[in-house]
């Protein structure tokens, strides 16, 4: 009896899947490696959410340490981390928002009602800049130095714990902020 070749196809597919999953084991899901760490911000030219008819580009990230936060109104975790960004903004951290695959009016309403922690909001409706950055999904947050180089990438929620562990060690003038991070009660793990 001839054995049909197609009957082996599912087995081969499974083999591929298992190899892939095995490689993924032990992967640190919070510090996703980014090809871009140490690289300059990719060039872009995209509209601004809040400034009418104005366009923003990579020169935004010059002259001071900044955070780039990828967010969207359809992203539940963004709501969770939003109060923490409000707090950082109050403490003088400059945060640029990247509004990712979202609707402008919804995004504006979100900021109007929950508060705006961002100095600028870049509108990335088609996800082109996010693609260049290698964004897996919202939220993600990048640390950019005054020369416009990406120093750190964090996938997922930013809270006091993450700030203290990952961002604060790289951030200049860290002592003041670290103390603050320790005090914050909302830093518990988000759902």
């Amino acid at each position: 009896m001839k054995r049909p070749i197609w009957a082996l196809v599912p087995l081969l597919l499974l083999l591929g899947l298992v190899v892939m999953l095995y490689n993924g084991l032990g992967r640190d899901t919070e510090t996703l490696p980014s090809q871009l760490v140490g690289q300059p911000m990719p060039p872009f030219q995209l509209p601004s959410l809040l400034g009418a008819d104005s366009e923003l580009d990579e020169s935004l990230f010059r002259g001071r340490w900044m955070l780039l936060n990828v967010w969207a109104t359809w992203c539940p975790t963004c709501y969770v981390e939003h109060p923490y960004f409000m707090q950082l903004a109050r403490e003088g951290v400059a945060i640029v928002g990247l509004n990712y695959k979202d609707q402008d009016d919804k995004a504006r309403q979100y900021l109007a009602e929950l508060g705006n922690p961002y100095t600028h909001v870049v509108v990335d409706k088609r996800g082109t800049l996010a693609m260049d950055l290698g964004v897996y999904g919202a939220p993600e947050t990048y640390l950019v130095n005054p020369e416009g180089k990406i120093m750190l990438r964090h996938a997922g929620e930013v809270n006091a714990r993450v700030w203290a562990q990952k961002f604060a060690p790289l951030w200049p003038g860290r002592e003041a902020l670290e103390q603050d991070a320790g005090r914050d009660a909302h830093g518990g793990k988000a759902p």
Partner: protein, 658 residues
């Protein structure tokens, strides 16, 4: 002592599982009745032992035995006793115990209820289930034992249950979900037993069908409960987030849906046999994959268990053995699985095949989207996957699926004459167009995609009503008597399909007509949402059993008439310090009102408040419940309880040695 008793019972269950996976198989192979008949008592004994283990763990939780590491990590003496008991499955180790207990339960049910199935078949099915039991029992005993002691230094009080899980919805959600996941192991065991015996005929399909359907019904309820829980507990008002863990439960559901339909073809027409077996293997493998994704920490998720690569490796090896073993067996037996009968293009088989492919495509879309972070790593490709990706695929897939669903239901098996088919279908088209357009027009403008969805909803409902009326009329006696006499299997199908229509209608309504306002309010402010006025009366402290809360009071009126008063809370749990949003809901058949306290703002007394108006959101879960009810109805159909042809031992021996 009770914990040691429980621990010992789990070890005994492992020994019995080893016996159960070997003895009946040898019996079936040699035609030895005595060995084959060990399967039933072994399966029932396993259930008894694991019940003892489960009770022992429950006892430890009830009496706050914090010498058990698992109890200390997931409970607290201030926790109400109901939640102390549900904490049994509030963490990784205990939920595994629940899982193996259910597996033993399904095994015992097969042993108990399969009187009409030949002894060789039962022996093989139970042996396969025994092997699955070995896998999970050793996983629990070697990597995640809930009975591990913290001696001699144990904490005086526990760390408390995750506040997200302190909720009535969460008491029932995991058991339902696991019943579904684990239930598919029966379908899998029947598939492997069928492959071993070389017997995959309509009789085999009839044995496997009710088990698959009932597991599917459990999974449906489990997913719906999870979605309902996320809606009111997480405080974002969403009902589906395409989170990896949600996707992990959706994948076996999609392929399980394909499986129950393909089993129907296998039973009625003896077709799609290889396909059916593959689907059974795939569905259970996806259940295992879901377990792997949730418990290995391989993907970031909102409700993943503790990250542990060692556990991940164990489940991955187990998954490779289960799927690899069964697929190898499949490759060996594939030549025997040729279809004998044929079918025309215009036939129920074609439409069912079409929908099977659509469901499988949907499964693949979810699998790809969920695993993309890993695939991206491997291929060094950077593409981001998020809710818009899934929606882009699921909307058209669902619409085409609904179109084919009615056509398949109307058409005959094997072949349908073109002109007769047209006579049935043509009147339905204008009727659904009118129905869909009316529905889209009534609650205020719906975009074209939503309108198309409403048309498909009308198309499915009208086609089933029409068919039911025709069938009832064709029957003897009065119309209602005819309606009553329709088989439970048929009624179940109508119910499940209409449930799908209701679910889709709910999704369209809530997607296009919900109103979400995130506003800043101080006591005394009023906001109008969806025709209702929400007056923020006051906010003040309130103490719960194990948390302190700030409780807001909102008086809701409509055109000046009082509707209700709503009390959303912001809770801080005393032990862990976690902050939780407790949503105030006014559920309704047509729409929900939803108020959540966000964050306190800069000014004293000012809060960020989320006020939502959610039309049709209940229909989503009601639709899922109807689907599941349809499954239950189909299972209690008379033909599964038909008196068995005498299963003589002679016949069993003949089959066993064949």
């Amino acid at each position: 002592m009770t914990a040691e008793l429980g621990h010992f019972a789990v070890w005994m269950a492992l020994v019995l599982a080893l016996l159960q996976s070997v003895l009946p198989l040898i019996g079936a192979w040699r035609g030895n009745i005595a060995l084959m008949s060990t399967a039933r008592p072994l399966a029932i004994m396993q259930l008894l032992l694991l019940t003892i283990a489960l009770i022992a763990l429950g006892y430890a939780f009830y009496f706050n035995d914090f010498t058990l590491a698992y109890v200390a990590n997931h409970s607290n003496s201030a926790l109400p006793w109901g939640y102390r008991l549900s904490a049994i499955w509030g963490g990784h180790e205990g939920s595994l115990l629940l899982w193996v207990w259910m597996l033993a339960g399904w095994g015992a049910a097969v042993a108990w209820l399969s009187k009409s199935v030949p002894a060789t078949m039962v022996a093989r099915v139970l042996a396969v289930m025994g092997m699955i039991g070995i896998g999970f029992l050793s996983f629990m005993l070697f990597t995640s034992n809930p009975f591990d002691r913290l001696l001699p230094w144990f904490p005086l009080d526990g760390a408390d249950l995750n506040p997200l899980l302190q909720d009535p919805g969460l008491i029932v959600h995991p058991p339902m979900l696991y019943m579904g996941y684990v239930g598919f192991s029966v379908a899998f065991a029947f598939a492997v037993a069928g492959l071993l015996a070389g017997r995959l005929d309509p009789v085999w399909a009839r044995w496997a069908r009710p088990w698959t359907t009932i597991a599917w019904a459990f999974l449906t309820v489990g997913i719906a409960l999870g979605s309902w829980w996320a809606y009111y507990e997480l405080g974002w008002g969403g009902w589906w987030f395409w989170d990896p863990v949600e996707n992990a439960s959706l994948m076996p559901w999609l392929s399980g849906t394909a499986l129950i339909h393909s089993l129907a073809v296998a039973e009625k027409r003896n077709l799609f046999r290889a396909w059916t077996v593959l689907l059974a293997i795939l569905t259970f493998s996806l259940s295992l994959l879901g377990t792997f994704l949730v418990r290995s920490g391989i993907l970031t998720s909102v409700h993943a268990f503790a990250n542990d690569p060692e556990r991940g490796t164990f489940i991955l090896i187990f998954l490779a053995l289960v799927a690899g073993g069964s697929l190898s067996l499949f490759a060996l037996r594939a030549p025997k699985l040729k279809n004998n009968a044929g079918f025309r293009l215009l036939s129920r088989e074609s439409f069912l095949l079409g929908n099977n492919l659509l469901l499988l495509t949907a499964t693949f879309v979810v699998l790809l989207g969920t695993l993309f972070p890993l695939i991206g790593d491997a291929l060094d490709v950077r593409i981001s996957i998020s809710a818009p990706y899934f929606n882009k695929f699921f909307v058209p897939l669902t619409l085409v699926l609904m179109a084919l669903l009615s056509l398949g239901m109307i058409s005959n098996w094997k072949s349908h004459r073109g002109d007769a088919f047209r006579r049935r279908v043509l009147p339905l088209i204008p009727a659904s167009l009118v129905g869909g357009l009316l529905a889209a027009w009534l609650p205020g403008g719906t975009p074209w995609l939503g309108t198309l969805g409403f048309i498909m909803v009308a198309w499915v409902v009208l086609a089933h009503l029409d068919d039911m009326i025709r069938k009832a009329r064709a029957s003897r006696g009065s119309f209602f008597a005819g309606l009553w006499r329709l088989s439970n299997g048929y009624k179940g199908m109508v119910l499940a399909h209409c449930g799908l229509a209701l679910l889709v209608a709910g999704i369209i309504l809530v997607t296009h007509h919900e109103i979400e306002r995130d506003v800043r309010m101080v006591p005394g402010d009023t906001v109008q949402v969806g025709g209702y006025d929400f007056a923020f009366v006051d906010v003040g402290p309130r103490a719960g059993p194990n948390y302190d809360a700030m409780r807001g009071e909102f008086r809701v009126t409509r055109n000046g008439r009082a509707v209700t008063t709503m009390y959303p809370e912001k809770r801080t749990y005393r032990v862990g310090g976690q902050v939780m949003t407790q949503v105030a809901l006014r559920p309704g058949l047509i729409h929900d009102l939803y108020v959540a306290l966000g964050e306190p703002l800069d000014m004293p007394g000012a809060w960020a408040v989320r006020v939502y108006f959610k039309p049709g959101v209940r229909w989503i879960w009601a639709g899922a419940l109807l689907m599941s009810l349809g499954g239950v109805l189909a299972v209690i159909d008379k033909r599964y309880r038909r008196r068995p042809a005498r299963d003589t031992t002679a016949q069993a021996v003949a089959e066993g040695s064949a």
